[in-house]
Structure formats: C-alpha cells, structure tokens
Amino acid sequence: MFDICQDLYNKELLSIEDIRDVVLYSPMFGLTKIDYETITGQPWNTVTP
C-alpha cells in the first residue's frame, strides 16, 4: 500500500491532504504516520485533521 500511495502521490493523483485522510480515516489500508512523512516529506505533527 505504501508503494501504491507513493506512486500515486508522485504522479500527483493524490494530494498531501488525501494521504493524510488515508492515514487518519482508512486504517484498513495500513498506511502509517511514518509512511506519510516518507511520502510527503512533511512532519506528521503539523497535520490538522
């Protein structure tokens, strides 16, 4: 799932907010906060839900 999200983010099909929403609201996809930081390069603690 991490690879798919990173790929889609690089292709600009998923925005930074989309990645955040997947981490926050779609836990079945198994994307973690560390994955969010790796994909977007942004720290998780600045995220507002």
Binding site: I4, C5, D7, L8, N10, K11, E12, L13, L14, D18, D21, V22, L24, Y25, S26, F29
Partner: protein
C-alpha cells in the same frame, strides 16, 4: 560534382552553436536541433533559445528555470526519460487514486456521523431524564 560532395561532407560538421537559435522540447528540455529563426511561441512542443550549448559530449537538456543547458551522462539521461515515462498516470492509477480518496471521504463522514450520533444520544438521554423528572413532580 566535386564541389557538391565537399558541401555534403561539410554538413555534419555544423554544430547547433553555428545557428542563432537552438530548439528544445518543451516537455523534457531535450535538444532537438538548431534554427536560423526562433520557434513559434504558441508551439506546445518546441521552444527555442539563443543560449549556446556548452562544449562536451553529454546529453543536453535546456532548464528554463536557470536559463542554461544541463548536461546528462547516458545513464542519467536514460533514467531521466524513464522517470518521465513512469510519471504519466494511466487509467489504472486514476482508478486506484479515486478509490482511495473515496474511501477516505466515506470513512471521514462515518467518523463525523458517529460523533454526531453520540452527541445526539447524550442529548436524548438528558431530555428523557428531564422529562421523567417533570412527570414525577407532576404526579407528586
């Protein structure tokens, strides 16, 4: 006849720097050729520059942000083209992205509705209590 042959032999010697303008791809900046006239500004694919090519045997691409040519080794150039090709999303990518965002939106709404439901339940319980109290006080 000999003169013609000489001319033909000379042609490959001409470098892009012998022309006033060098043409490059607007998509990846790759050097396409050289021209006596600047490229059409409305052309979606080809642009021109008067910046001369640097000396060297590298693969050159024009970087508009710094207004200079960047050189790439064969390997770098190959990787660059590959990345460009990979970064074009296909239908499958669009489908996956839409499913992921849709799922996230639905789950977000579900969480919000759950919270709203909890608030309403608490409010209903409060009201029931108040109603029972008033009923009791009335019967008394």
């Amino acid at each position: 006849m000999e003169e013609n042959e000489e001319r033909l032999n000379l042609e490959p010697e001409a470098s892009p720097n012998d022309f006033p303008y060098r043409l490059y791809s607007k998509i990846n900046g790759a050097l396409i050729g050289a021209s006596m006239t600047p490229a059409d500004k409305d052309d979606p694919e080809v642009a021109s520059t008067s910046v001369p090519l640097p000396d060297g045997e590298l693969n050159y691409a024009f970087d508009e942000s710094i207004n200079l040519w960047r050189g790439y080794t064969n390997e770098e150039w190959f990787n660059r083209l590959n990345e460009a090709a990979l970064s074009i999303p296909d239908n499958n990518d669009e489908w996956r992205a839409s499913i992921m965002t849709q799922m996230a939106v639905l789950n977000k709404q579900l969480v919000q509705l759950g919270l709203q439901n909890a608030k309403l339940t608490a409010r209903v319980t409060e009201l029931e209590k108040a109603l029972n109290n008033t009923k009791e006080s009335e019967t008394n």
